[in-house]
Amino acid sequence: MDHKLLDGMVGTEQDRREPLLRPGNSNCGGCGMSLSLNMLSRAVRELPIQMAIPACCGIVTPGQYPFSAFGAPVVASTFAASAAVATGLSRVAEWNGESTRVIAFAGDGGTYDIGLATLSAAAERNEDLLYICYDNEIYGNTGGQRSSATPLGATTTTTPSGKLRLKKDIMGIMAAHRIPYAASLSVGHAEDMVAKIRFALELTGFRFLHILSPCPVGWKSEAAEGVELVRLAIRSGLFPVYEVFDGERTLIRIEPEPSREGRREALEAYFGKQGRFRKNEVNVDEVERAIEDQWARLRRQVAAS
């Protein structure tokens, strides 16, 4: 990986002896999930982990049996079941006095849509597991169809005229479960991201991490520009990076552009760099209003906590 990208973390004591994502994996160039796994690798360091990964790009990543590009014990689950399978792994580790940190690693389809009931139930039970959603805002593995994480206006293979509804507020949903920790993470802020993953790994109870994960194939964007796109999403306010502790205390450590003009400029740049927004004219005013509304809610949440 790019040294600058990871703030010079490569080749330091923060590396695992065995990278989580080994060479030979089948991910596309510029995949946000690859970045996420490398950040996770650096956060995990020496901790013993096990992962449950549903039927999604993430289980194609390791390649074909009997080989695996994952440097950790992984079990494949059915699409909706990663939180349930991870529950099973986590309970057995606990009964046997093992310090294994169990991680469910799923995309937005497996999180926002088909797996939402399973996820919600595991969160409500406050299972001791870390659930990571790498959100590329489409069903990437099946060719880029709409999910409820797809943003307003985005063209997908099943919304050829652009999506008509706003993206589902998954952080709000998960925080409403009053779980110990929910955080959205930026692959464009490596040090912050690794620190938050590490914090989440060390907590007990249910922890939820949400990663905006660029997909150059689905987003019709340049592979090298993924990190820049995430930074634009954050600067525009489109992707708020924040933490919620126990469903209450809300903390924002990475701010969008202070001025409305600055946010608008970033938003237009974000849309301009991606083919999925270019085919149909995105109603930037409508998106901007939604962003301002969401931030007003977030600010109230911060003030109240």
Binding site: S68, S77, T78, A81, A84, T87, L89, V92, W95
Partner: protein, 386 residues
């Protein structure tokens, strides 16, 4: 050892509890549990048990119930769940996943009619829908058999020659809610019968990916291994019967249970509690001098075709009683058993007791009369008994 008056639901829960506690020196016991009529009393009783190393997880769906079992089993624990009917339909994806991952999970299934329209009464269509899932399937005739089959299921499923999950099926209400006397063994005896689970492909510290990607050749090999494992089941089952008899002093029933078949020229083949009614009709026919016998298919998967072929070798007339229907074809039991019938035998399918219709001796005796009158096999006959 003690004698208790128990429903089959409670018998199954207590068998699972004993099996679970027998794994305390292993990696523990648990499962995901979710209610559905007429199975709920099983998981309710299970949730009242205390496990030194283990727990039941009260999940939000049958799909997750099996998902939790998969996680626990993959981590090396003994695991159990129970379901029925539409619950099994909802669970189906993970039923297949559990078996493809070669996890020795045991599930108690109460046979109930699939809906809508809703019907909570017995028929075998729900678990027969899962016949191709790669699980072992037992169909029981009484409550003691349900209890014993849970212990037998763990013993066989966890054997390293097998390593596939097992389903213990019983008829809704006829068994699930009917109290019968059950011989409950002591924990120490169960401990002797069920050694600690040692899952060779347990997910531990080694970086492996279990259940990743297969291409055609890998799938061919995995299916072949799975099929070969199921071929081992009759042998492993027979060994387990011997061990069971030695430890508990009674012998669990064979995969196919014959009744007065020694000199039978006419056979009535059935599954589950229908077989009890068949016995009464066989006795009556024998009093009238008719050479009739009954065959109960207890193990439906792996299918005991060689045993059935031998049992049916002298039968000229065979009636196959299905409490299920594969719509557009006929009874599932018929479609499989008829391949084991002698070439020139008259083989007639009677589908009866769907949706919990009360199968009485008079119904079975009527269709025996029909079988005796027949000059050739006909199309499956859907008999209305309700």
């Amino acid at each position: 050892m003690s004698l208790e008056l128990l429903s089959a639901n409670h018998a199954a829960a207590l068998a699972a509890t004993l099996a679970g506690k027998a794994n305390v020196k292993g990696r523990g016991f648990g499962g995901g549990v979710y209610p559905i009529t007429p199975q709920s009393e099983c998981v309710e009783l299970l949730c009242r048990q205390e496990f030194e190393k283990g727990a039941l997880v009260r999940v939000e769906s049958e799909h997750s119930a099996m998902g939790v079992c998969i996680g626990m089993a993959q981590a090396g624990a003994r695991s159990f769940t129970a379901s029925s009917s539409n619950g099994l339909a909802y669970m189906t994806e993970n039923v297949f996943a559990a078996s493809f991952l070669r996890l020795p999970i045991v599930m108690m299934a109460v046979n109930r009619t699939l809906g809508p329209p809703w019907n909570i009464w017995v028929d075998h269509g729900d678990t027969l829908m899962l016949r191709d899932s790669g699980w072992i399937q037992f169909y029981c005739e009484d409550n003691q058999e349900v209890f014993d089959s849970i212990l037998m299921a763990y013993r066989v499923a966890e054997d390293h020659r097998v390593l596939v999950p097992a389903m213990v099926c019983q008829d809704a209400f006829v068994l699930s809610h009917t109290m019968m006397q059950i011989d409950l063994p002591e924990q120490a005896a169960v401990d002797r019968f069920l050694p600690v689970l040692d899952l060779p492909h347990r997910l531990a510290e080694r970086p492996v990916t279990i259940g990743g990607l297969d291409h055609a050749h890998e799938t061919e090999v995995h299916r072949r291994q799975h099929a070969e494992a199921l071929e081992q089941v009759p042998l492993v089952y027979a060994e387990a019967q011997d061990a069971f008899a030695e430890i508990f002093g009674r012998r669990p029933a064979d995969p196919v249970v014959p009744y007065r078949m020694e000199d039978a020229e006419i056979a009535l083949v059935s599954m589950g509690t229908t077989a009890s009614t068949v016995k009464a009709v066989v006795d009556d026919a024998r009093r009238r001098g008719l050479p009739v016998g009954g065959l109960r298919v207890r193990m439906f998967r792996p299918f005991p075709e060689p045993v059935l072929r031998a049992e049916l070798s002298n039968c000229a007339r065979i009636g196959i009683l299905d409490r299920d229907i594969s719509l557009g074809h006929g009874g599932v039991l018929w479609s499989e058993v008829r391949g084991a019938a002698p070439r020139d035998a008259i083989v007639q399918n009677y589908i009866l007791g769907l949706g919990g219709g009360d199968v009485r001796p008079s119904h079975v005796s009527d269709l025996l009369d029909d079988l005796l009158r027949r000059r050739e096999s006909g199309v499956p006959d859907l008999v209305e008994v309700a």
